[in-house]
């Protein structure tokens, strides 16, 4: 009896702790979204936890001061989709080559990829910038998209995933039917690997969407600014006292990700659990 009582008490305390932690986790995000709907005057009057009705007013101020938020949104979207497609396709291709074929040096290549996942980007970014500027690619999205052909983290994930779904009989059957090796990858393997590819795609998309440092170093013309770079300009003097529109600008960058998470959290959580998904 006593034993049961202490367990119940302990459980109640745990729930209390979890609830406080949840409040700490969500309060900043909730305040961001609520304040995006409130006018500057309302925000100055005090803290509120219920949304107001000034979204469109805030939006007018936000885009009315030289900050092209819709363009930044489209830039970020384009870049995220392009990077995602490139990195998922080529990472699966690389992973497939490692899982299905046996060639000398395979193990070394795999270990090499494991090391690459860990490599900090400081070691390459300055050299990368100088080299891109010599090629005239500094203010171009190519310099952001092409490197994702070699995304070590995605290859690592892809290999783990393919190992669990590849059916060698199916590949042999396709070979007997006269399919080419690359044709087998496209027509047999990709459809089977779709769930894994989807998980990889979510991670690649979010990583690109949130990436600030690399575009910040490489991109110089305002027309090509991505959302995180616009967030930085949002801090400037033009918006100094327009709190409502600042919060709205931040909300625009964050809400798409929250929606993706709400829809696909299962994929994301299992992807994290499955191992180091870095990019």
């Amino acid at each position: 009896m006593a034993y049961k009582f202490t367990t119940t008490l302990f459980r109640a305390l745990i729930y209390l702790f979890l609830f406080v932690l949840l409040l700490v986790t969500l309060a900043p995000i909730w305040l961001l979204i609520v304040n995006a709907t409130r006018s500057t005057v309302e925000i100055q009057q005090g803290v509120a936890f219920l949304p107001s009705t000034h979204v469109f007013e805030n939006y007018g101020i936000l885009i009315g001061r030289g900050l092209d938020m819709p363009r930044g949104f489209m830039n970020s979207m384009f870049l995220a989709i392009a990077t995602t497609v490139v990195s998922v396709y080529f990472s699966l291709l690389t992973a497939y080559g490692m899982v299905v074929y046996d060639f000398p040096g395979k193990k070394i290549f795999y270990n090499f990829i494991l090391v690459l996942v860990m490599l900090p980007m400081q070691l390459s970014i300055i050299g990368f910038y100088q080299y891109m500027s010599k090629l005239g690619l500094t203010d171009s999205y190519w310099a952001l998209i092409l490197p994702s052909v070699a995304s070590a983290g995605a290859v690592f994930f892809g290999k783990q995933y393919l190992e669990s779904v590849v059916i060698s009989d199916l590949i042999d059957a396709a070979r007997i039917d006269g399919a080419s090796e690359l044709g087998i990858f496209h027509r047999v393997m990709l459809p089977i690997a779709t769930p894994g590819a989807f998980t990889m795609a979510i991670f690649a998309f979010i990583a690109s969407w949130n990436n600030f440092f690399t575009p910040f170093i490489l991109i110089s013309s305002i027309k090509k600014y991505t959302l995180p770079m616009l967030v930085q300009t949002l801090r400037g003097d033009v918006y100094r006292t327009e709190y409502g529109s600042i919060y709205l600008g931040l909300a625009i960058t964050v809400v798409p990700i929250i929606i993706i998470y709400a829809l696909f959290s299962r994929y994301i959580v299992s992807g994290i659990a499955m191992g180091s998904v870095k990019e």
């Binding site: 900043p28 995000i29 005090g46 440092f213 967030v231 929250i258 998470y261």
Partner: protein, 307 residues
């Protein structure tokens, strides 16, 4: 005949790796080589002639206190967020996986705790800048409820600025650590716990002698990835204040120092490269150190346990 075809086919696999290898050589390896080469020169973005100056860039880094201060800051900000991060994540993972406690809706709690990890760091830093600004909600709340006599400039205090960076990092990463720890804990065979219970082991004993040893590879993984990420910290401290680590360089990190040298009016990319190389050396030595010191010294025991 058949073996020859098989042999040929296996070499065909190498072709699948060609795009990766090419992209890696062009966009991964060559830039690394280039950065290392630049770190021995006085290259700037403004002039075309560059001279080999040996280790001068590195000597200059240690000549004043700026670089050492940046390293100290980076370590401080990382360690002080990592300890509560792993602590709280461990506590929650143990509770969530405990069969006796039977916490409800574990998946939902976990998913919600993880949410901040996915938000754009640049936006998060700007959000906290707004929340803690002079006219921001934090001041309003504290003054109205009598916790503070008058509004204060949070971001002009060294301790509060550092505390905020640490809090944000913790806030963004503890959910991630929970997911990884739980994946490790649920892979421990239940029979081990059953056997221990039969032997009359307490919950603490089971945690110390079963969970922790078997969790070691996962702990090393968390430790190293967090360290590598922490040493690269940029977005949050950069956007929380003026981008130069204000107040008084208290949140100036390694990566910010590299960027400051890169974006200086002359564009000293030689000097910036030397910062990058130093961070890399420091990170590698520490990561290898973690692997070395935490490696399985008592592998016999865990071998038996894995069985």
């Amino acid at each position: 005949m058949q073996t020859l075809a098989k042999f040929r086919r296996n070499y065909f696999g190498v072709l699948f790796l060609v795009p990766f290898i090419l992209a890696f050589l062009l966009f991964g390896l060559f830039p690394v080589y280039n950065t290392i080469a630049l770190s021995f020169t006085d290259t700037t973005l403004m002039t075309s002639n560059a001279n080999f100056i040996g280790l001068k860039n590195f000597q200059r880094l240690f000549a004043d206190g700026v670089f050492i201060n940046a390293i100290k800051n980076t370590w401080l900000l990382w360690i002080l967020n990592f300890i509560p991060q792993i602590g709280i994540a461990m506590l929650l993972s143990v509770w969530f996986t405990n069969a006796r406690l039977r916490i409800k809706a574990v998946g939902v709690w976990r998913a919600l705790f993880f949410l901040p990890n996915l938000l754009m760091p640049a936006a998060v830093a700007s959000l906290f800048f707004s929340l803690f600004s002079y006219f921001g909600p934090m001041n309003q709340f504290l003054v109205r409820n009598g916790f503070l006599p008058e509004a204060m400039q949070f971001l002009q205090s060294k301790e509060i600025a550092r505390g905020l960076v640490i809090f944000i990092q913790w806030w963004m990463w503890f959910g991630n650590t929970i997911i990884i720890l739980m994946a490790g804990m649920t892979s421990v065979p239940l029979t081990l716990y059953e056997a221990a219970m039969v032997d009359g082991a307490s919950a603490t004993q089971m945690f110390r002698h079963i969970t922790l040893p078997l969790l070691k590879p996962i702990l090393i993984y968390i430790f190293v990835t967090s360290l590598v990420g922490g040493m690269q910290m940029f977005d949050i401290p950069y956007l929380l204040t003026d981008g130069r680590g204000a107040p008084a360089s208290s949140i100036l990190t390694n990566n910010m120092l590299m960027y400051l040298k890169f974006s200086s009016s002359q564009g000293h990319i030689g000097a910036a490269s030397s910062v990058g190389v130093m961070i890399f050396l420091m990170t590698s030595v520490c990561s290898l150190g973690i692997f070395y010191f935490l490696r399985d010294k008592d592998s016999k025991i865990s071998h038996q346990m894995k069985f």
